[in-house]
């Protein structure tokens, strides 16, 4: 086990420095429920940053603010040089081409085949510009996740792990620079979870993407994380590498590693 994790550790690409996502003093509440309070964090180019937090601590709210699905009450979210809350709908759409989002529940469209699911973001984002090789792009994206043969199936016919892969293929089809993963391994068995984690690592290497990964599956965290952020009570409680945080003396941090 330890040897495996060490080899994986060595294979991890390292961060290159400049921030692609910069979150400053972000606050968000729903009525009396103050979910995020003064959260600040920078995602560096090329790194996989994991956000650790108990369920209901506002992890999904955080990345939904980054992609512009929720608007923050206070603070700035700078994504690739633009402040998300200030963007117009059109600018937001253009930003979303570069930022992929993998939903916790996959969000595959039930009424569409796998092919139509993958074509959806392609056709929607570039209605008028050249779209001559849609089929090729769909097949390439599916081959990347090893599921070329499912192209004409419906999502309901697939297993949980396959659906997660298809959802990942749909996220990757636009070749995003940044990927936001919302609990990518939750609800999967440990072996499938590990496969997905390795797939995420492959993506990072192959496309040189930066990613924010929300997870509380420590197996996944161990594999993918370059850096970990601990989200407690709406703020950025601690930041560090897997080993740093694992050996931390702080009780609240430690409980995630037990």
């Amino acid at each position: 086990m330890s040897t495996l994790s060490q080899t994986v550790e060595m294979e991890k690409p390292t961060a290159k420095g400049n921030a692609v996502v910069s979150i400053q003093h972000l606050s968000k509440s729903f009525g009396e429920n103050h979910v995020l309070r003064d959260f600040s964090f920078d995602l560096k180019q090329g790194e996989n940053a994991v956000v650790l937090g108990k369920s209901g601590s506002g992890k999904s709210v955080l990345i939904k603010c980054i992609i512009g699905l929720l608007s923050p009450d206070k603070g700035s979210i700078n994504v690739l040089g633009q402040n998300v809350p200030d963007l117009s709908q059109e600018e937001l759409d253009r930003m979303r081409v570069k930022v992929g989002f993998l939903f916790q529940s996959n969000a595959l469209y039930d009424s569409m085949t796998v092919r139509e699911n993958l074509e959806f973001p392609l056709r929607r984002h570039w209605m008028k510009s050249t779209l001559d090789d849609v089929d090729g792009m769909v097949m390439e994206a599916l081959e990347n996740v090893g599921l070329g043969h499912t192209v004409d199936m419906m999502p309901a016919e697939l297993s949980g792990g396959m659906r997660k892969r298809i959802a990942l293929a749909r996220t990757l089809i636009l070749k995003p620079e940044i990927i936001l993963y919302d609990e990518p391994t939750t609800g999967l068995d440990p072996i499938t979870g590990k496969e997905i984690s390795n797939l995420m690592l492959d993506v990072q290497k192959k496309y040189n993407t930066s990613a924010i990964v929300i997870s509380h599956d420590m197996n996944c965290v161990k594999i993918v994380a370059n850096r970990i952020v601990v989200l407690i009570e709406g703020t950025c409680y601690a930041v560090g590498t897997y080993d740093e945080l694992k050996n931390s003396n702080d009780k609240k941090v430690k409980q995630f590693f037990e």
Binding site: R96, S105, A107
Partner: protein, 255 residues
């Protein structure tokens, strides 16, 4: 407690009205989702066709059989086609088809959008450069508004055919004479309000189904709840609209 539920009722009425208004503010701005609209028209029209047809046929048949003895008693058997056609076309066929659609289409839309909401498909559309309100809600409301009148007109015709069958069980009514009498009894002022109100029925069914689904509560039981309350509210609205429609036609002396 009572005060509270009254408040939440008012809040919901407000929310549905705002939602219904949003259909107009967003629906008439480009990008129009024509393909999706056609697909929804096909589904909504086609899926309810057989159910509406069977119900309409039975209503026409039953109404004729039931009305017959009374008319015979007064020696007015010859009025049967005319009387039946007025009741069918003005009231029974439109309202029955709207109720069937409230049950079938309203619940279908409520459950579909509800499960799309719960499994984040609506969010996924939004991040894929698509306005989900236009893609999902505007197309469905529009399709309901257009297709329910079509279904109601079909129901008119099928129920009249049912009436013809009913009239021939105990008596003999010539085919041509039946249709002549049935249409002779109908004036333009019978048809127009009866058809106009079905557009409102369709709009109401679409709006309520979409509203309930679009704002479905988290969790899978929320989906069932959306479907269920969509049917209840839509059916109730059909009667309310019918009531308003009859008042308006009365005011304008179209009766």
């Amino acid at each position: 407690m009572k005060n509270n539920s009254f408040k939440s009722f008012l809040a919901e009425v407000g929310d549905i009205s705002a939602f219904a208004w949003r259909f107009f503010t967003e629906g008439f701005k480009p990008r129009f989702e024509f393909n999706e609209l056609l697909r929804q028209c096909y589904f909504i029209g086609y899926k309810s066709l057989s159910l509406v047809g069977i119900t309409a046929f039975i209503m026409g048949l039953v109404l004729t059989i039931q009305s017959r003895p009374t008319l015979v008693e007064f020696g007015a058997e010859a009025w049967l086609p005319g009387m039946v056609s007025v009741s069918l076309v003005r009231e029974i066929a439109p309202v029955i088809s709207a109720l069937i659609c409230a049950g079938k289409i309203g619940s279908g839309i409520g459950a579909e959008l509800g499960s799309m909401k719960v499994t984040e498909q609506i969010d996924a559309m939004e991040v894929s450069g698509t306005n989900p309100f236009k893609f999902l809600v505007v197309t469905r409301v529009m399709a309901c508004t257009l297709m329910i009148p079509v279904l109601a007109i079909l129901a008119d015709i099928i129920s009249l055919y049912g009436g013809y069958m009913g009239a021939n069980i105990r008596g003999v009514v010539n085919w041509d004479l039946y249709w002549y009498q049935a249409f002779d009894a109908l004036s333009f002022s019978d048809l127009l309000p009866a058809i106009v109100k079905t557009f409102f029925f369709g709009y109401a069914i679409g709006v309520v189904g979409c509203y309930k689904g679009y704002f479905s509560n988290k969790g899978t039981e929320g989906v069932g709840q959306s479907a269920n309350s969509a049917v209840v509210v839509a059916s109730l609205l059909v009667f309310v609209i019918d009531l308003v429609a009859v008042q308006i036609t009365d005011i304008f002396q179209l009766t």
